[in-house]
Symmetry: C2
Subunit: 208 residues, 2 copies
Amino acid sequence: MYLQEQEAAPLVLKSGACLPPPGTGRVWRLESGALRINNPQALGQTGLLSLALPGDRIGLECLAGLAQTPLAYAITPAVLIAVEVADSEITDVMKQAYLSARQRCADMVMLRTGSVPNRVRYLLLLLADSQQLDQRDNALPSLRDMAQVVDASIETVSRVLGGLRQFDLLQGRRQQGGTVNATHLRQFTFLPGMTSSSALGRSRCAQA
Amino acid sequence: MYLQEQEAAPLVLKSGACLPPPGTGRVWRLESGALRINNPQALGQTGLLSLALPGDRIGLECLAGLAQTPLAYAITPAVLIAVEVADSEITDVMKQAYLSARQRCADMVMLRTGSVPNRVRYLLLLLADSQQLDQRDNALPSLRDMAQVVDASIETVSRVLGGLRQFDLLQGRRQQGGTVNATHLRQFTFLPGMTSSSALGRSRCAQA
DNA sequence: CGCGGTTTTGAGTTACATCAACATGCGTGG
DNA sequence: CCACGCATGTTGATGTAACTCAAAACCGCG
């Protein structure tokens, strides 16, 4: 109840794992990786509410007055640490949480704006930028997760990644691994016509 | 600086009007109507960040530590009142703001999930539900705004609304007016095939 | 080695965007 | 008052991005 940041052992989640105590009023801080925040009562849909990226607090809803914490799944290997929020800090923590919630909202809008290739591009940059240190740490979400995040089909996402690989903007994807060339990808824009599925066919023809 | 809720004269915005002092550190509460929150430095895109619905606070970013307030445009005739936030209340206000930011994020995701007809449907329900009292208050956003919110083209949105009108889920749209039949619309789902543009052609044929 | 989960690739179909008229208000000024 | 212009909404025809379905290649694992 004093300085809260260094607490309990870090919690390490594998891709696909759920944040363990769904009902508990525990507050976590995401250290690395990415989570998908899910609506518990997903009615047929995917129930995606938002993403969580390193630095975000998880489980603040209960502090803010809500009964239940939404479900959180790791879509990338993730590390979290439990934090204890002292009363004196609540205001500051809520301010931070508010700002990052706004940011995630903006991110979700971008992740669903424009063509699928551009949405995937935004997702990859988001993930790459959130990996603070080592660029070679190459963990990508599964195609299924990426597809749900950008609201596209798995096949289309696969084709987009294929296209990126052709331009060396992405290397070596096999089973949820891969290295994005963030700096090049950032200054890359999909021209209409070279986009997605059709792009593959055409550029392959062009190369042949 | 005591009880802050009843302050200054309400600010009435017409559809399309911008929240006046973009740089000022003023905090507003949206009483009725809907706003679109915009990224000031929109780089070619529409710059849509989020929506604001009645009850939401506008301009809290500065309180939370950000320099600038994002731009807010009314997409529906809107009424706001200026609020003064006392130091003692900041924590509670931020908690509320955090929760509603999460909710708006979830809304934005829904507004960008699935087929255009379903996205438009969600938008109409969102607007209808936010009009607390009189249902007959029939103010809809312009097609341009609706199209940008759900990330679709104006023409498609027009066709979707046309389809809804055929089922009496929407009445009398001429120049940003119209009444949504919220109760029926809520329990209505677009079957694949009767969706959007194609729906019009087909159902018109069926009727002829 | 065979078996489930993930990724890839292809071919056919469709929802939606685009382009291009056209209709309809609504305001402004002659 | 009507004439004009401008913003908004409507409608049709056409192209294409992306979805669907189906099959295969690839992994990791007991």
